[in-house]
């Protein structure tokens, strides 16, 4: 028997956890000496009050959808891919290689190729930890952490020694050619008030497609079934003839590929060149997003939107309330991870007890004992 109705598990508990996280964040703002409600109003107005705000909010959300889906897919196979940061950085490298080496006649062709490049590089960076987990039993969390650092060193090396424009001091690649520039919201929907400088670009649609794709994969294909079965019980999955090595490898490759795709938005869509630290922590935000979204694409989308609001709103907040530093967003992010992830049982246990007692009262004295 389920201890709780499904809606309580899927909606109520994450909601309570997020409210707890926001409450504690409010206390921090209060300690700094500002009004938390006013701070929240500034953040929401800054993120959603103008086309300018929406342009940034959805741009950030696009990044977080990709990294969130990446973490979510791995979660379904009961693996914790903490390496989204490194995989997305490598994805950026893939995009840069594609955009800089081939003279593309049109952005749509470049986009297809760059997607392949980003996903391939991201997946390749996830492949070694996945192989070590599958074949050697090395803990995927540790290896992916190490690969984040290795990726960061590798990218610094490549940008300084290989890709740097001769004569330039900045460790970044040359600007990508005109034909690889993706149309942004200002080009597509100027009637909504987007300017030509808005960072929101066509990758947002790509992110929505990725949500749909992940939903189809996890709940509508044989492979998705195998991934979920493996995540629920490895021994049962093996008994049912599912090959654990294959599932670990495939799930991690998809996860790495999704993380790599983030670079389409950040590197190809916005910066239009590869710079040092193009990921800017989005790989880690993906962990919070996946936890909050309960690893479901719809949940991931909503959570990514919330974090988009937090990131854009946080920038506005720092502008209007100089006492509140931008790092407040990192604190909120930490609290969301803490309450929805690590302290999940703190909310869940009392809720389960509550629902059990409610049910007992409903059924009356019919079933006094089990």
């Amino acid at each position: 028997m389920e201890k709780m109705p499904k809606w309580a598990d899927v909606i109520l508990i994450p909601l309570i956890s997020v409210i707890l996280a926001l409450f504690v964040s409010g206390l921090v703002v209060l300690y700094i000496g500002e009004n938390p409600f006013e701070a929240m109003a500034i953040m929401i107005r800054g993120a959603l009050g103008s086309a300018y705000g929406w342009g940034y909010t959805l741009f950030y959300a696009t990044n977080f959808i990709f990294t969130g889906l990446a973490v979510a897919v791995a979660f379904h196979a009961r693996m914790f891919n903490i390496g989204g940061e490194g995989q997305a950085a490598l994805g950026g490298l893939g995009v840069a290689v594609i955009c800089l080496t081939i003279p593309w006649p049109h952005w749509s062709l470049a986009l297809v190729a760059a997607c392949a490049g980003a996903a391939l590089f991201g997946a390749a960076w996830a492949a070694i930890p996945a192989y070590l987990q599958a074949k050697r039993g090395s803990h995927i969390v540790i290896t992916t952490i190490m690969f984040n650092f290795i990726a960061s060193a590798l990218l610094v090396y490549l940008l300084v020694n290989v890709f740097r424009v001769p004569g330039s001091m900045a460790p970044e690649t040359a600007r990508f050619p005109e034909m690889t520039h993706l149309p942004n919201a200002g080009d597509i929907a100027p009637w909504l008030g987007f300017r030509s400088s808005t960072p929101l670009n066509i990758s947002f649609l790509l992110a929505l497609l990725a949500c749909l794709g992940v939903w189809l994969l996890i709940w509508r294909t044989r492979l998705g079934y195998e991934i979920r079965a493996f995540g629920h019980s490895e021994t049962a999955a093996v008994y049912a003839g599912i090959n654990p090595v294959k599932i670990i490898m495939v799930a991690m490759l998809i996860s790495g590929g999704l993380a790599g795709l983030m670079a389409i938005n950040a590197v190809m869509g916005e910066a239009e060149r590869l710079v040092i630290d193009s990921v800017q922590g989005a790989g880690f935000v993906g962990i919070a997003v996946a936890l909050m979204g309960r690893s479901h694409p719809v949940g991931v989308f909503l959570a990514a939107l919330l974090f988009g609001v937090l990131y854009q709103g946080g920038a506005e907040l720092e502008f209007e309330m100089p006492a509140v530093s931008r790092e407040m967003v990192v604190v909120i992010q930490a609290l969301v991870i803490l309450f929805t992830g690590a302290l999940d049982n703190m909310v869940r246990m009392p809720m389960e007890r509550l629902f059990l007692s409610l049910r007992r009262r409903e059924s009356g004295q019919e079933t006094p004992a089990e």
């Binding site: 700094i32 190490m146 090396y157 803490l338 049982n345």
Partner: protein, 325 residues
């Protein structure tokens, strides 16, 4: 490269290895008791900020040290609550603690000092000073005039802050506690087979909490060392991945104290060499500085791959203990 240059590099290896060693031993207690801790980094960072902030305001570095340890203990308490009491995911809890520290230190530093997330520079008694051991020279000119043995004594052994010697002393202490006391036996047993410990009538929860708190104390010292001894004050993100290098060293050492010392000294040496030389010429090849920086991480992956021996973590690591009902 003359003898004194080698000594100087080794000297700076010891300085750079100290925070790694303290954090590594911290992780050793926690992980031996079956609680994975990837929040070493966050605990160090938070301790670094509060030790520097309190040392600055009080003017006394020892007060700062206590503040740093207390901060780290609070975070360790959260980790313990999440992973022992509420049986949550220890890795996710560690991630949360790292972000909490990264965000909170800057937010509070901005509120207290308005210097863009740093503390004012520490001076005088607000810092751990270098100790000159009896009979050692402390000036470069004095050291240059000595013989090789005297140079080793003056340059390498003397002239560190008290925390360096404390960290080195904790290595044999940890070995003794873990392998020669009843408490240590229980702590290790809790990490290998908590059910057996429970059957013997020893509280698993209590043993794990003690281990997590010991981890907090050591991370606190590590953080205080970073901000008040290695540098003079806190700057944003000053732990710079050291918590993860310590984690790497712990795996490299296969969860054993003496090997942890060796691993940390080795990683400290990488750091020192990387700081001193930008690129290293080895025959035809030039080893880039980024390679030196990534080397600890690469080595750990190699060890985890089982190419050099096999790193087997404590068996009950990462698993919350549920009493049978």
């Amino acid at each position: 490269m003359d003898f004194l240059t080698v000594l100087q590099i080794l000297d700076s290896s010891v300085r750079l290895a100290t925070p790694l060693l303290l954090a590594c031993l911290a992780g050793l207690y926690s992980e031996r008791a079956g609680i994975f801790d990837i929040g070493l980094e966050g605990k160090m960072l938070a301790a670094a900020f509060f030790s520097a902030a309190i040392a600055y305001t009080s003017g006394n570095v020892w007060v700062g040290l206590v503040a740093g340890i207390s901060t780290s203990l609070v975070l360790a308490g959260i980790h313990g609550m999440a992973s022992i009491t509420f049986r949550g995911n220890q890795l996710i809890s560690g991630v949360a603690i790292n972000f909490l520290a990264a965000g909170m230190t800057v937010v509070i530093a901005q509120t207290w000092f308005q210097q863009g997330g740093r503390t004012p520079a520490l001076m005088g008694d607000a810092r751990f000073q270098e100790i000159t051991l009896p009979g050692a020279e402390s000036t470069i000119r004095g050291i240059q005039s000595q013989g090789p043995l005297g140079q080793i004594y003056s340059e390498l052994i003397s002239g560190h802050s008290i925390l360096v010697y404390v960290a080195l002393a904790i290595v044999p202490l940890t070995w003794w506690v873990l392998f020669r006391t009843r408490f240590g036996l229980r702590l290790r047993a809790v990490g290998e087979n908590p059910a057996a410990v429970d059957t013997a009538g020893v509280s698993v929860v209590r043993a794990r909490y003690v281990a997590v708190m010991l981890c907090g104390v050591l991370c606190g010292i590590a953080g205080a060392y970073l901000a008040t001894a290695l540098s003079a004050g806190f700057v944003k993100d000053m732990s710079a991945g050291r918590g993860f290098i310590a984690l790497a060293a712990l795996i490299f050492a296969k969860w054993r104290p003496w090997y942890a010392l060796m691993a940390c000294l080795l990683f400290g040496l990488f750091d020192a060499v990387g700081n001193r030389f930008q690129n290293i010429q080895v025959g035809e090849f030039v080893v880039p500085v980024q390679f030196m920086q990534a080397l600890p991480y690469i080595l750990v992956v190699v060890v985890l791959a089982g190419l050099v021996g096999k790193a087997i973590p404590p068996r009950a690591g990462g698993e919350p203990y549920v009493k049978e009902r």
